[in-house]
């Protein structure tokens, strides 16, 4: 990890080996092409970053979206996008930063969509708790997590990235696509709001 992938190596990935074994659907010309070598690097990056960071990224997303299944979908989407953007990234550190940014963006989109759905569902009668609801309750047993829910998106993201993911200000700024000054501001306001909310309980 952390070094440039070796583009000179044409050894097929496990995926491409499987493709060949499954019926030769990857022609030899493809395996020898620069595109295939790039594909090899992207496959390897996905596998290695998955084994190193998937769980932590899902947990990060779960703190933002408040349910495990959605968190997994958010992170899986992010890995697929990272694979697609590997030609630009080509570096494990950049790829991890990209994954964090994608997770934060997609989590924000999920929450925005959920707000719209919730507004439309307000008149529906209460039903049996869903699996999602169960996961949400599990997380919100933690008063801090429950209080996080009421923070503005940016403050919630800054708090989770700082205090769960333990990222530096620069890393948080990159993940949220904001300045370091804005990170400081969102973090300070978030902590202040959390404290106020918890003291009211």
């Amino acid at each position: 990890m952390g070094s440039e992938p070796d583009e000179g190596v044409t050894r097929p990935t496990n995926v491409t080996e499987t493709l060949v074994a499954a019926g030769g659907i990857v022609p030899d010309a493809f395996l020898a092409s620069p595109t295939a070598r790039l594909g090899w690097s992207a496959d390897l990056a996905v596998t290695e970053l998955y084994s190193l960071h998937y769980r932590a990224l899902v947990r990060l997303a779960a703190l933002l979206v408040r349910d495990t299944q959605t968190a997994e979908e958010v992170v899986q989407d992010s890995f697929v996008a990272m694979h697609g953007g590997w030609q630009r990234l080509r570096d494990a550190e950049k790829a991890l930063a990209y994954l964090r940014q994608a997770v934060v963006n997609r989590s924000r989109s999920v929450l925005r969509h959920r707000t719209v759905v919730d507004k439309n569902m307000q008149k529906a009668p209460p039903d049996m708790p869903s699996a999602e609801h169960g996961a949400l309750v599990l997380l919100e047993r933690h008063a801090v997590v429950a209080a996080l829910r009421d923070l503005p998106d940016r403050q919630r993201e800054a708090i989770v990235l700082r205090y769960y993911a333990d990222l530096s200000e620069a890393e948080i700024a990159a993940a949220m696509k904001i300045s370091r000054g804005a990170v400081k501001s969102h973090t300070a306001r978030g902590i202040s709001s959390l404290r106020a909310a918890l003291e009211q309980e």
Binding site: V15, Y54, T68, F79, V80, H142, L194
Partner: protein, 69 residues
């Protein structure tokens, strides 16, 4: 909630203690989240499907690859 006992409900009143309280609470909450073990399968399948392989075949290939690895 576990706290250090400085404020209401054991919540530290301010400063670094409160930040540590938040850190521990988030860590404890996150530790309860356990992703499914086969998360790489749908990722691989979607990558393969995106390159034109039909979805059922992409999924089967990804599943076999994970189990053979």
């Amino acid at each position: 909630m576990a706290g250090t006992g400085h404020g209401p409900e054991g919540i530290p009143a301010r400063g670094r203690d409160f930040a540590e309280f938040v850190r521990h609470a988030l860590q404890a909450a996150a530790d309860q989240v356990e992703p499914r073990a086969d998360g790489l399968v749908p990722i691989r399948a979607r990558i393969l499907a995106g390159s034109g392989i039909p979805w059922p075949q992409a999924f089967a290939i990804s599943l076999n690859w994970i189990h053979d690895a």
